[in-house]
């Protein structure tokens, strides 16, 4: 057995490799990005598995589905909100008779370290009626990902592995076991089970519902769902899920008597094990990361005889991540105390655009283009340029979901709020802004779309944009934008004044304009230089 030091994300990736995947697809998104990065690095060294960034999570999912049809194992990974984008193929894929193992990894971000919301992917797994595996640590992340492929092939369903930021981005030693060989190419034997025409879909839905009892049986028997009834404590039972177990164990030694404990790592929920625990105690405390999913399931609408404590009852915080500290109150333990600052106000240090960032120049040009007393609607989107919301720029008014800025600017313009401007990054544009632009082109909406092209996916660490940036202009023109209102400008401080003039002129044009402002991200540029210098021996000292 070999040992490796891995991030939770990397443990998932290696688990998939050792499960013999043929292909992996993803769109970058914190905290899931490092899963595919690990696979790409592995591919560079070993020439397999096939691994690629895709236009968005939906296309990623569909490509993985194709691999599964061909009898081979595939993984698709994304952040929680990415699953919203892939929801259509995801939910429907639960109805097809999965051939090669298909695993979808969803990385949730409780605490919103780098996200717009805290949504809990376990609901999606439940909604799709599939199995969800929730590792508690890096070792389980590796093992459960391997197991997920077996479960997928055994029950012919896609399987979800749900992780959270704190596991995705935490590093520890993982014991790695013997890898499994790739499966041969073998087309799904009953294509009808992949054609979701109503007549087939109804049959498939019936089959999926029939399978539920087998899934429950699997979950009840799983060693990842472990129940320990305490002989001398009939008062309190604790149920933990995923990494919440760690925070419970962190505090356990301080409890007078060890409570009964059920840990859940496999869904559907192990009903029998839950019943056993509940019948043993007077009070149940539920510690789960994310939404009060299990708690609502147990609580129902009628007050039970057993007292249920958790997020809904207020003993466990409903917002943000769980920590070893914020569950202490629920365990009747006093708060820990640390050192305190007295009478010194600590200023916040929010993230910001890097000094010299091309987005800053684009924002300067846009601000310069707008008359001082003019009321402009400035929709924006998700990426580094979302930081344009903060001082000194204060240049944007919306950031809702990937690609929303163009559609929102159209809506505002349709409503009569003009001039309407949408700013969007190059990768975000290709991810899901491009479809909204089609609507704008079809209607020749009175608005200005500004694509902030820094030639990379900046926020997640500089992954390549899915189409080379030189092609953005031809994409826009190919959709039918009027060539006389399409501009490619350099996002350079020297050009700010001229750019402002052009933007000003296009804001005043009563139709659709598309302006692409181009300059490469400084970080990407710097990294390229650094990589060049590193080969052969480095000549300059660089701190990593």
């Amino acid at each position: 057995m070999t040992q490796k030091v891995l991030l939770g994300d990397e443990a998932v990736a290696l688990g998939a490799i050792d499960a013999g995947i043929h292909a992996a697809y993803a769109y970058p998104g914190t905290p899931s990005t490092e899963i595919l990065e690990y696979l790409l690095a592995h591919k560079q060294k070993h020439n397999k598995p096939f691994a690629a960034w895709c236009a968005n999570e939906k296309t990623s999912y569909e490509e993985a589905l194709g691999v599964s049809f061909a009898g081979r194992r595939a993984m698709v990974s994304m952040k929680h909100v990415g699953l919203n984008v892939a929801a259509d193929p995801f939910i429907n894929s639960a109805l097809v008779t999965i051939n090669g193992g298909l695993v979808v990894v969803s990385a949730d971000d409780p605490g919103m370290h780098s996200s717009q919301n805290e949504q809990d992917s376990r609901y999606y797994a439940d909604f799709a009626h599939i199995v969800c595996l929730e590792p508690a640590n890096q070792q389980e992340a590796y093992e459960m990902t391997r197991e997920a492929f077996d479960v997928s092939e055994r029950f012919h369903i896609p399987v979800m592995v749900r992780i959270v930021t704190r596991l995705a981005h935490s590093r520890s030693v993982v014991n790695v076991s013997e890898p499994r060989a790739e499966s041969p190419l073998s087309r799904a034997d009953s294509p009808a089970s992949w054609i979701l025409l109503p007549v087939n879909a109804r049959r498939q839905w019936h089959k999926l519902l029939e399978t539920q009892k087998d899934l429950l049986d699997y979950s009840e028997r799983s060693a990842y769902n472990s129940l320990r009834l305490s002989k001398d404590n009939n008062e309190l039972g604790v149920i933990t899920t995923g990494i919440a177990k760690n925070y419970y164990l962190e505090n356990l030694s301080e409890l007078d008597s060890e409570p009964s404990h059920l840990h859940i790592g496999v869904y559907p929920l192990p009903v029998e094990k839950i019943r056993k625990l509940v019948s043993h105690v007077k009070r149940v405390l539920i510690l789960e990361e994310g939404y009060p999913y299990l708690e609502r399931y147990l609580r129902g609408i009628i007050e039970p005889a057993v007292r249920i404590q958790g997020k809904l009852s207020g003993e466990v915080p409903r917002e943000g991540e769980l920590t070893p500290d914020n569950i202490r109150n629920a365990l009747d333990l006093p708060p820990h105390r640390g050192l305190e600052l007295s009478g010194f106000a600590l200023p916040n240090r929010p993230p910001r655009l890097c000094t010299g960032c091309p987005h800053a120049d684009s924002f300067h040009a846009i601000k310069g283009a707008v008359d001082a007393n003019e009321s402009v609607f400035m929709a924006s989107d998700i990426g580094c340029y979302s930081l344009g919301a903060l001082p000194p720029y204060s240049a944007i008014e919306t950031c809702v979901c990937m690609g929303a800025s163009i559609g929102m600017a159209k809506g505002a313009s349709d409503a009569g709020l003009r001039p309407a401007i949408a700013t969007i990054g190059d990768s975000t544009f290709l991810h899901s802004g491009v479809t909204a632009l089609m609507d704008c082109i079809a209607a020749d909406t009175d608005m200005t779309v500004i694509i902030l092209d820094n030639e990379t996916v900046g926020m997640t660490g500089g992954q390549p944009t899915i189409l080379p940036d030189s092609r953005l202009e031809s994409v826009v023109l190919g959709l039918g934008a009027k060539p006389e209102h399409v501009y490619v400008l350099s996002a350079h401080p020297k050009q700010n004044e001229r750019n402002a003039e052009i933007i000003h002129q296009e804001i005043n044009y009563n139709g659709l304009s598309v302006i692409i402002t181009v300059r490469e991200c400084l970080e990407t540029l710097r990294r390229k230089k650094r990589d060049k210098q590193a080969e052969p021996a480095g000549s300059e000292l660089v701190a990593v």
Binding site: S114, H336, L341, P391, A543
Partner: protein, 195 residues
């Protein structure tokens, strides 16, 4: 044995690299280690923090409880104060005094340093100056590893080995410069009242 470290700094200062060197050293000496990091938006010049836990027994939580940290190791003085609540009463605050003033309302540096001096156990050093003296202006973070090395439950030679490993890809010169910075930091901390 349990040694919990809060690693603090500003995005881009290399707090994660520091954490990774100490974590690797501890692992190679047979300790259990967990290292929790932040990626994504917080890397853009904002405050960054990593939790590094070292123990001779298996570690449950990736996050350090409040009041439990044996050390705060900070690349920047203001950031060393942000996580004070995590430090135990006899914990050590090791920080650079070299400020990263990328915010408009950075407090008076003298006041920040005075607040650090109010903590029971601390080591302060101007990592930038120390690094410059060794001729490698960019390795202030290795200076801080050196300063912290006096208190860590791992041998100084082990840390050296992993600094060499981390920079090996960049060539012998880079390795030597970073080792030099590490030793200078170690030496600079020796005279400090925190020891």
């Amino acid at each position: 044995m349990k040694y919990d470290i809060i690693m603090a700094g500003v995005g881009g200062q290399g707090a994660l690299s520091v954490s990774s060197i100490i974590a690797s050293s501890a692992m190679s000496e047979g300790f259990y280690v967990k290292q929790s990091e932040l990626h994504g938006m917080s890397q853009r010049g904002g405050a960054v923090v990593a939790h590094l836990r070292i123990s001779d027994k298996p570690i449950s939580s990736d996050m350090i409880p409040v009041g439990a940290a044996s050390m705060i190791l900070s690349m920047e003085p203001l950031e060393s104060l942000r996580y004070l609540a995590y430090l135990s009463a006899d914990g050590m605050l090791v920080t650079s005094t070299d400020p990263m003033k990328n915010i408009a309302n950075y407090p008076d540096l003298g006041e920040v340093l005075r607040q650090i001096e109010l903590t029971p156990h601390h080591v302060m050093l101007d990592s930038d100056q120390v690094a410059k003296k060794t001729g490698s202006a960019h390795s202030g973070n290795m200076v801080m590893v050196g300063a912290a090395s006096h208190f860590l439950p791992v041998r100084a030679e082990t840390i050296e080995k992993f600094i060499s490993q981390m920079f090996a890809r960049k060539g012998e010169k880079v390795v030597t410069a970073n080792l030099k910075a590490y030793h200078a930091g170690r030496l600079a901390a020796e005279g400090s009242p925190g020891l």
